[in-house]
Amino acid sequence: MELNFKIRDKSDKSLKLREENLSNFKKKGFPNKREEDWKFTDLEKFLKDNFDELNNDKLNDKKPDFHEFSFIHNSVKLINGKFQSFDFKSENLKDKNCFSITNLDFNHHLNFANNLKDNPMQNLNTALHEGGFNLNISSDYKFKHPIVIYNYFTGNLKNKIINYSDSINLSKNSKATIIEYLVDESEGNFFKNSFKYINLDENSHLDYYFINKNESRNFFYEFSKVQLSKNSNFKKYLFSSGIKFGKFESNIKLNGTNSCGEVYSGLFLDNNNHQEVKTTIQHLKPNCQSHQDVKNVITSGSKGVFQGKIFVEEIAQKTNAYQLSKGLLLDKDSEFSTKPELEIYADDVRCSHGSTSGNIDKDALFYLKARGIDSKEAIKMIIKGFLETVLEKIKNKEIMDILLNHFNTHIRYENRSN
């Protein structure tokens, strides 16, 4: 695989930093299975097997037709990772200072990137960084409607590598629901390497949904770094079914007392897909809570991976952390690998994890069949029931509809011949 990475940003200030990062990346290369964090997902091999070349040449962005949801919402539009436009009219704002959204420039990116220096993916991201958005929500502002980020990939992206980063900041007492809606209409294979920096100030509240629309034969890597202050609350929902290759890492730092971080994911992996959900939840202050629930249904040669770590610092007493990962394997060629990890240095805590994997429960199947439901329908019901448990906490009806629709698109068990 040929790597043709060129630094195009020649401004005095950034060139040196970018070059440094690129050389750091080149020293290590793409991570492979010998590295603990990539044990179950050999990125180097995946890229080698699927790309003859990777380059960061200028993209010929083709403006797509944005299909917007019909319910009332605010919107942000991205094309190939780059910030295009926003529309927050539905909030009916009198005070324009409630929020700001701009293109994320390189200097701003550096504010975050510096503390991940040893990560080759971060090095690469910084070296070739281009755009992303920067959303800032002012204190005491609570969004009335969800913000949908239409994240479109269009045009001919053959052999392209796309590096960008986004930043979301919630000031004191603010609240928002964000839906990142991924639509891949591109031609040719590309690899996306993006970083997300999320900061929650005191008493703020963010629900973040990642939902993929259609089938994508592309390669997505995303690293989210989330920082929580006192009494703040962060929920992440990940629904990336349909993507050929995905690794979604979340590093959540509970850095204030009474903060709470949650991760939910329900994936249906089909067609030799390979997806990994990786979480690190760091309990750094007392009285924090975390909850994780990751469900994978795996079929047709797909591989599901979950690596989850709960870390509890010495002073983080009264921690309550829970983690559950479940894999449902539907056929011979599917595989589920997990590494649910606990690293605990405080004694007055309640930390537990559970992990299971196996086939469909024969008793459940028998129960449904005995009630006149044919086998395929029964299996589909069980699969849906299995995945939909992660939706339990969602109260917003519109989001629920999008998610049920997402499941209907991607769970296609009835089409099978066997």
Binding site: E36, K39, F40, E314, I315, Q317, G327, L329, L330, D331, K332, S334, E335, F336, S337, T338, K339, P340, E341, L342, E343, I344, Y345, A346, D347, D348, V349, R350, C351, S352, H353, G354, S355, T356, S357, G358, N359
Partner: protein
């Protein structure tokens, strides 16, 4: 609750016996290996085997992925062979055994005399690296059971040794296993012939005695078709300031319908309160369920050693084979334990069960690290894993690092782990009923460990239970 658990204060096995030791020259080299081999009058194939391991060792690096880090070991500064001199003229009976040795064993509570027959334990006592006395041979021989030191087995049963030695832990394994293959000095050998149930529990007591001696035991247990054996291993070591390396290899082979039960109580010198001294326990234990319906069960109670680093594993090759792992690991002061198991499912309908209980106090670190791997062909396999950790005080750590891979859709894996401290309500309940804090903690911890303790054979269970309580003495709520 502030708890200081003091295991050392009552380390009653902390003494050294003055017996003249016979040592190989210091350092690791081909000469040392040849010296060991010559001293033990080994056949050429074994020397070649050792040298092959040594050659491979030179290309290996010490692993560094484990959680407990340790100071660099200078392998050239160790003695690789040390035999109590008095065994140069082998004793014919117990009377001829060095009285000091017998005394040592008595202090350890090993019944090397008639009591043993009553308790039904045959002991193959390893003092440093050479087997000194083996008892109950007659009774075992009648059944065709071979229970002797591995050096003796090499002389008397070379075919068996040649066939199985290194078949579970090959020469090409990791650093410490390969080191052991190159320089192992002695250990136990057990062979149970087809359809024989071993009438008693076989047992070996180890003692690390001579200063600066790395111990490289090699144990090989073979259970032929339809046989059964229960093997006990108990360890105590004298007080020492210097760190002592212990890199043993234990290989188990179970053929069709055979069952091996391997129990360990490990109470080696853990180092003092400042974390000075103590044994490095880097042991490779692995069992292969080669035959159909075979079963291997590991039970361990780990309370000693400065650093414990071991993963007794089962390779479930035969269809319907079963692997079990029951473990209690107690760490205190600066002790560090990184222990767990590997269950590798290869055959159909294989089952495995893992129960691990970790207790961490003082400034100790306790890690469960395990692998459950169900391969594509292991249809209808099943695993159940439970690892619980108990923390006492906020200077210690408890960690769980399981790796779980399921590549077969007809197989099921269940894993759960919890970490918590002693329940205040339970403590209160016990206090209310007149138990003091210490008794209450001891009771609760013994309850916490019960699932594992009850797997131990009678004699061991009592000792283990005592050990658990001793470890908790001095802890104040």
């Amino acid at each position: 609750m502030s708890k200081v658990i003091d295991t050392n204060k009552d380390y009653k096995y902390g003494f050294t016996t003055d017996i003249e030791s016979f040592k190989a020259p210091k350092g690791l080299s081909e000469e040392t290996i040849k010296f060991i081999s010559r001293e033990k009058k080994e056949p050429k194939w074994l020397l070649d085997w050792r040298l092959k391991a040594y050659k491979r060792l030179k290309s290996l690096k010490e692993p560094n992925w484990q959680k407990p880090k340790y100071p660099k070991i200078d392998y050239q500064d160790l003695y690789y062979y040390s035999a109590p001199k008095s065994t140069k003229n082998k004793p014919k009976s117990l009377d001829e055994v060095d009285p000091k040795l017998i005394e040592t064993y008595k202090k350890l509570g090993i019944p090397l005399d008639e009591q043993k027959r009553l308790s039904g334990v045959a002991v193959d006592a390893v003092f440093d690296s050479v087997s000194v006395a083996t008892t109950f041979k007659g009774e075992l021989t009648k059944k065709g059971i071979i229970f002797c030191s591995i050096s003796e087995a090499i002389q008397k049963h070379p075919d068996l040794v040649k066939k199985y030695l290194g078949s579970v832990i090959p020469l090409t394994d990791h650093y410490f296993a390969t080191l052991n293959s190159a320089v192992f000095t002695d250990g136990s050998f057990v062979y149970i012939p087809p359809n024989v149930k071993c009438p008693m529990e076989l047992s070996t007591y180890f003692r690390i005695n001579a200063s600066q001696t790395g111990q490289f035991e090699r144990t090989l247990i073979i259970a032929d078709k339809g046989s059964y054996v229960s093997y006990l291993e108990g360890c105590t070591a004298p007080m020492r300031d210097e760190n002592q390396l212990h890199a043993a290899n234990v290989e188990l082979v179970a053929l069709d319908d055979a069952e091996i039960k391997y129990s360990t109580v490990q109470n080696w010198y853990p180092g003092d309160e400042e974390g000075k001294g103590g044994i490095y326990n880097f042991v490779t234990k692995r069992g292969a369920c080669r035959g159909k319906n075979s079963k291997i069960s590991w039970t361990q109670v780990e309370t000693g050693s400065a650093i414990t680093w071991k993963y007794p594993s089962c390779i479930l090759q035969g269809d319907n084979s079963v692997g079990e792992f029951y473990s209690i690991a107690i760490t205190n002061n600066h002790q560090k334990a990184d222990t767990g198991t590997k269950m590798i499912h290869l055959g159909k309908n294989t089952k495995s069960k893992i129960i691990s209980k970790g207790i961490s106090a003082g400034k100790a670190d306790n890690t469960y690290r395990g692998l459950v791997d169900i391969s594509k062909k292991a249809e209808n396999s099943r695993n159940y894993t439970q690892c619980d950790s108990l923390l006492m005080g906020n200077k210690c750590g408890a960690h769980t690092v399981p790796y779980i891979r399921n590549k077969n859709s007809s197989s099921t894996i269940e894993h759960e782990a919890t970490t918590s401290k002693i329940n205040e309500e339970q403590l209160f309940y016990c206090n209310q009923r007149g138990l003091n804090q210490e008794e209450a903690v001891s009771l609760i911890v013994n309850g916490f460990c019960k699932e594992v303790l009850q797997q131990l054979p009678m004699e061991f269970a009592v000792e283990a239970q005592k050990l658990v309580s001793i470890s908790l003495e001095g802890s104040v709520g």
